[in-house]
C-alpha cells in the first residue's frame, strides 16, 4: 500500500509539475493575450491613460488571476479526481495484492506451523536422543572411570610385578655374579689344592728325609751321651786333681811368705825403735802446736771485735754529724720561723698551742657538719611534704573534676526531668483545658504515675551518686589495700608454691599410673565391672584339648589290650581261656608260631644227633687209623693218648700256636719227659710231628709185642 501511495504521490507530483507547467503556460498565454490586447491602449494616452491603463491592467490582471485561479482550481480538481481514481485503482490493486499476500502468508503460516510442529517433534526427538546420548555418555564415562581405575590397579600390579621382576633380575644377576665368583674361587682353590698337594708331597719327602736324618741324629746323640757321661766323670777327676794342686800351691806360697817374713823381723825391730822415738817427739810438737793454735784463735777473735768496733765508730761519727746538722737546723728554726724559740722547750710549747688551736677548730668543724645534716634532713622532709601535697592536689583535682562531671550529669538529668515534668504539666494542662471532669481520675492517675516516675528517678539519681562516691572510696581503698595485703600476698604465694609442688607430684604420679595402665592394657587387662570376656564354645583350643584327651584314652586302652595279649601269649599253655573276643583271632597266629617253633626245635635236635653221630664215627676212625685218641682239654690244647700206651696217664699235650691249627707245639708232660731222644730227633732235627707220633706208636707197639 505504501509503495502504491508513493507511486501515486510521485505521479501526482509529476502530473502536478506538468499541470503546473500547463497552468503557467496558460497563464503566460493569457498574460500575452492581455498584453497584446492592451498593447495599443497604453500608447494613446500617456499621463492619465497610464493610470487608467494601469487600472485597466490591474483589473485585467486581477481578472486574469481570478480566471487563472479558477482554472488552476479546476485543474486541481481534475488532478485530484484523477489522483483519486488512481488511488482507488491502486487501492484495489493493493487490496488484491494484500489478499493474495494474506493468502500466501496464511499458507506460509500454515506451512510454517506444520514445519514448526515437525521441528518441535524433531527437537523433542533430538532432545530425547541427546538425553539418551548424555546418559550413555555418563555411563561410558563411569565405565571409563572404572576401566581407568582397573587400568590403574593393573598398572600398579604391573609395576609391582615389574619391580619384583627387576628385583628378581637383580637377584639373578647378583646370584650369577656370585656363582661366577664362586666358580672362580673354586678354580683358584683347585689350583691351590694341586699346588698344595704337590707341596705336600714334597714336604712328605722332606719329612722322610728329615726322619732319616733324625734317626741318625738320635743314634749319634745316644753315642754322644755315652761319651758325655764318660767325659763328665773324667772332668770330675780333673777338678779334684786341680783342687789338690791349687791347695798345694797355696801351701807352698804361704811357706815362702813365712820365710821372707822371718827374714824381715830384725829390720822391723829397728824400725820400731826409731818410730817410737819419733812418736814421742811428735807428741811434744803436737802440744806446742795446740797451744799456739789457741793463741791464734784468741787473737783472731780480738781482731774481729776490733774491726766491728771500727765500723761502729764510723757509723757513730756519721750519726754524730747528722745530729749536729739537725741541731744546727733546729737552732736555725728560731731564725726561720720567726718565733721566740731558742730551745726545744719553746718548740714544745708552740706545738702544744698549735694542738689546742687544732682541737678548737675540729670542734667547730663537727658542729658545722651536724648543722648541715640537720638542714638537709629538713630540706628532704619539706620536699616529701611538697610531693604529698602535689599528689593530694592532683587527687583532689580529679575528685573535683569527677564531681563536676557528676554535677553536670545531675544538672542534665535535672533539666531532662524538669522538661519531662513541664511536658507532663503541659499535657495535664492541655487535658485540663480540653476536657472537663470526666477525665480527672485518669489525669490524677497519670499525675500519680508521673510523680512515681519522678521519685524513682530521684532514687536512681541518689543511687548513682552513692555509687560514684563508692567508686571513689573503693579506688582510695584499693590504694590503701595494696599496702596492707603485701603480707597476705606472701602467704598466698607460699600457698601457691606448695600447691604447685603438689600439682607436679600429682602429675608425675599420674604419668606413672598412666604408664602402668598402658602396660596392663597391652597385657590384656580389663575392668571386670564394665567388660566381660566371651568366646565361642566350639573353639579350636577346646577341640584340640578334647582330641588330645580322647587320643590319650584310646592309646591307654590300646596299651592295656596289648598288655593283656602279651600276658596271654607269655602264659602260652591256656590261650583260649581269655574268653574275650580279641584273643580268638590271634590264637591262630599263636598256634602257627608254635608249630613253627616246634618244627625248628625238632630240626635242631635232629641236626645235633646227626652231628654227634658223625663226630663219634670220625673220632673212632681216627683212633683206629692213627692210633691216637685226640681230646680237646682247653682252648687250643689237645691231649693225645696212644692206643698202645702202657699207663693211662701217658699222654702228650699239644698247643696250637696258630689259630688254624697249622702249627703245633709240644707241651711238657711226664710222658714227654721220657721221650727226649725221639723229640730231639723228630721234632728238633726233622721238624715233623707226624714222624714223631708214628715213632712213638712203633716204639710202644714194639714194647707191647715184645713184653
Amino acid at each position: 500500500m505504501s509503495v502504491a501511495c508513493l507511486s501515486c504521490k510521485a505521479g501526482y507530483r509529476m502530473d502536478d509539475l506538468g499541470e503546473n507547467t500547463t497552468v503557467f503556460s496558460t497563464l503566460r498565454s493569457f498574460n500575452n493575450f492581455l498584453s497584446e490586447g492592451s498593447a495599443p491602449l497604453p500608447r494613446s494616452s500617456e499621463p492619465s491613460s497610464t493610470s487608467r491603463m494601469l487600472q485597466l491592467q490591474y483589473e485585467q490582471m486581477i481578472q486574469a488571476e481570478e480566471q487563472a485561479e479558477y482554472v488552476r482550481s479546476h485543474s486541481r480538481i481534475i488532478e485530484v479526481e484523477r489522483e483519486k481514481q488512481k488511488m482507488e485503482v491502486s487501492h484495489k490493486r493493493a487490496r488484491i495484492e494484500l489478499e493474495k499476500a494474506a493468502q500466501t502468508s496464511s499458507w506460509n503460516y500454515e506451512r510454517e506451523a506444520d514445519r514448526n510442529l515437525e521441528l518441535i517433534t524433531q527437537v523433542k526427538h533430538m532432545q530425547e536422543k541427546e538425553a539418551e546420548v548424555v546418559a550413555k555418555l555418563k555411563d561410558q564415562i563411569d565405565v571409563n572411570k572404572s576401566l581407568k581405575e582397573d587400568l590403574g590397579l593393573q598398572s600398579k600390579k604391573l609395576q609391582d610385578k615389574e619391580e619384583k621382576h627387576a628385583e628378581t633380575n637383580q637377584m639373578i644377576d647378583v646370584l650369577k655374579s656370585k656363582i661366577s665368583e664362586q666358580q672362580r674361587k673354586q678354580m683358584n682353590q683347585e689350583m691351590q689344592l694341586t699346588t698344595l698337594s704337590t707341596e705336600r708331597q714334597e714336604l712328605l719327602e722332606q719329612v722322610e728325609v728329615q726322619r732319616k736324618k733324625w734317626q741318625e741324629a738320635v743314634q749319634r746323640s745316644q753315642v754322644l751321651e755315652a761319651a758325655q757321661v764318660v767325659i763328665a766323670e773324667k772332668e770330675q777327676r780333673l777338678k779334684d786333681l786341680e783342687n789338690k794342686i791349687t791347695q798345694q800351691e797355696q801351701d807352698s806360697v804361704i811357706v815362702k811368705n813365712m820365710r821372707s817374713d822371718l827374714a824381715r823381723i830384725p829390720e822391723l825391730e829397728k824400725e820400731l825403735r826409731q818410730l817410737k822415738e819419733k812418736n814421742a817427739y811428735c807428741k811434744e810438737m803436737e802440744d806446742n802446736n795446740s797451744l799456739l793454735k789457741e793463741e791464734m784463735e784468741s787473737l783472731r777473735k780480738k781482731l774481729q771485735r776490733l774491726e766491728k768496733v771500727k765500723e761502729e765508730k764510723v757509723t757513730l761519727e756519721l750519726e754524730k754529724e747528722k745530729l749536729l746538722a739537725k741541731l744546727q737546723s733546729w737552732e736555725n728554726v728560731e731564725q726561720t720561723s720567726g718565733l721566740n724559740i731558742r730551745s726545744p722547750e719553746d718548740l714544745s710549747r708552740e706545738i702544744v698551742l698549735l694542738q689546742q688551736r687544732e682541737l678548737v677548730l675540729k670542734q667547730q668543724n663537727s658542729s658545722v657538719t651536724t648543722s648541715a645534716r640537720m638542714l638537709e634532713k629538713t630540706r628532704q622532709q619539706l620536699q616529701d611534704e611538697v610531693l604529698k601535697l602535689r599528689t593530694q592536689l592532683l587527687s583532689e583535682q580529679k575528685k573535683r573534676e569527677q564531681q563536676e562531671a557528676n554535677a553536670r550529669r545531675m544538672e542534665k538529668r535535672n533539666i531532662l526531668l524538669i522538661k519531662a515534668r513541664d511536658g507532663m504539666k503541659g499535657i495535664l494542662d492541655s487535658y485540663d483545658n480540653e476536657l472537663v471532669t470526666n477525665y480527672s481520675p485518669q489525669l490524677n492517675r497519670r499525675a500519680r504515675e508521673a510523680e512515681d516516675m519522678a521519685q524513682e528517678l530521684h532514687a536512681h539519681i541518689s543511687e548513682l551518686e552513692l555509687e560514684a562516691e563508692l567508686s571513689v572510696l573503693q579506688s582510695q581503698l584499693a590504694i590503701t589495700d595494696r599496702s596492707i595485703t603485701n603480707e597476705e600476698g606472701n602467704v598466698l604465694r607460699q600457698k601457691i608454691e606448695e600447691l604447685e609442688a603438689e600439682r607436679s607430684r600429682l602429675d608425675q604420679a599420674n604419668k606413672v599410673l598412666e604408664m602402668k595402665l598402658e602396660r596392663y592394657t597391652l597385657q590384656g587387662d580389663y575392668d571386670p565391672t564394665k567388660t566381660k570376656v566371651l568366646h565361642f564354645s566350639m573353639n579350636p583350643w577346646s577341640l584340640a584339648k578334647e582330641h588330645r584327651i580322647t587320643e590319650e584314652k584310646s592309646l591307654k586302652e590300646e596299651c592295656e589290650h596289648l598288655r593283656e595279649r602279651v600276658q596271654i601269649l607269655e602264659g602260652g599253655a591256656v590261650p583260649e581261656q581269655g574268653g574275650s573276643q580279641t584273643n580268638l583271632p590271634p590264637s591262630q597266629e599263636i598256634a602257627e608260631m608254635r608249630k613253627q617253633v616246634n618244627s625248628a626245635e625238632l630240626k635242631n635236635q635232629r641236626l645235633k644227633e646227626v652231628f654227634q653221630k658223625k663226630i663219634q664215627e670220625f673220632r673212632a676212625v681216627c683212633y683206629t687209623l692213627t692210633g691216637y685218641k685226640i681230646d680237646v682239654t682247653t682252648e687250643n690244647q689237645y691231649k693225645l693218648s696212644s692206643m698202645y700206651a702202657e699207663h693211662q696217664d701217658d699222654y702228650l699235650m699239644f698247643k696250637a700256636t696258630n689259630s688254624l691249627g697249622a702249627k703245633m707245639q709240644l707241651l711238657e708232660s711226664d710222658f714227654s719227659n721220657s721221650l727226649t731222644e725221639l723229640i730231639n730227633l723228630h721234632l728238633h732235627h726233622q721238624n715233623s710231628i707226624p714222624a714223631f707220633l708214628s715213632a712213638i706208636t712203633l716204639d710202644l707197639f714194639s714194647r707191647q709185642t715184645c713184653a
Binding site: 600398579k156 597385657q523 590384656g524 564394665k530 567388660t531 583350643w541
Partner: protein, 205 residues
C-alpha cells in the same frame, strides 16, 4: 554394602562394621599361617587389600571363623565390642604363648541413621595393608613355637550384653612374664582398631 559401592568416599556404620570384620577374618587367617598353627598346605591364596592373603581351606576352621566374625560384625553395629584377642597356646602344657590383641574404639554417636562419614576406601585399604604387612614382619622377632599349638578367639564386650546361645564366658588368658609390642592402627572414622602383640619371654640361662 550397597551404600559403600554407590559412593566410594562415604562410610556408613554398617559399612565400617563390615570392613573391620573382614579385616579380622583375613588378619586371623594370616596369623594362623604365619605362626604355623595349621599346616601351610591347608591355606590357599586370595587377593585382598592389594596383597596376596592366605586363607584356610579347613572346613571346620572356616565354619568357626564365620560364626565368630559374623557375631562380631553384628556387635560392632551396636557398639558392644571393646576388644578382640587371638590367644595362641600349647596343646601339651596348656599355657598361653602368644596374645594378639586388637582394641576397637568406636564412635558411640554414630548410629544406623546418622549421616555417612567422609573417608576414601583406598585410604582405609592402605592402612589395613600396612597393618597386615607389619603382622607378617613381626615373625622375625617372635620366639619360635616348637610344640603343637592351638588358638582361641576372645571378645571383650560390655558387661550387660546378653550372651548368645553358642557362646560362653571365659577368662582373659593372660601371659605371665610377657613382652608387649604395639603395632600400627587403622581407622574408618567410625571404628578405630589398635593392634598389639604380647609373647612369653624366653628364659635365658
Amino acid at each position: 554394602m550397597a551404600g559403600k559401592v554407590a559412593a566410594r568416599e562415604q562410610i556408613t556404620l554398617r559399612g565400617s562394621a563390615s570392613i573391620v570384620s573382614e579385616f579380622f577374618s583375613y588378619g586371623i587367617n594370616s596369623i594362623l599361617y604365619q605362626r604355623g598353627i595349621y599346616p601351610p598346605e591347608s591355606f590357599t591364596r586370595e587377593q585382598k587389600y592389594g596383597l596376596t592373603m592366605l586363607v584356610t581351606t579347613d572346613p571346620i576352621l572356616n565354619n568357626y571363623l564365620k560364626n565368630v566374625v559374623g557375631q562380631l560384625k553384628d556387635w560392632l553395629c551396636n557398639h558392644f565390642v571393646q576388644r578382640l584377642v587371638v590367644v595362641i597356646n600349647s596343646i601339651e602344657t596348656n599355657e598361653v604363648l602368644e596374645r594378639w590383641q586388637f582394641d576397637i574404639e568406636c564412635d558411640k554417636t554414630m548410629t544406623e541413621n546418622s549421616q555417612p562419614r567422609e573417608k576414601s576406601e583406598k585410604a582405609i585399604q592402605d592402612e589395613i595393608r600396612s597393618v597386615i604387612r607389619q603382622i607378617t614382619a613381626t615373625v622375625t622377632f617372635l620366639p619360635l613355637l616348637d610344640a603343637a599349638c592351638s588358638f582361641d578367639l576372645l571378645i571383650y564386650t560390655d558387661k550387660d550384653l546378653e550372651v548368645p546361645e553358642k557362646w560362653e564366658e571365659s577368662g582373659p588368658q593372660f601371659i605371665n612374664n610377657s613382652e608387649e609390642v604395639r603395632l600400627r592402627s587403622f581407622t574408618t572414622t567410625i571404628h578405630k582398631v589398635n593392634s598389639m602383640v604380647a609373647y612369653k619371654k624366653i628364659d635365658s640361662f
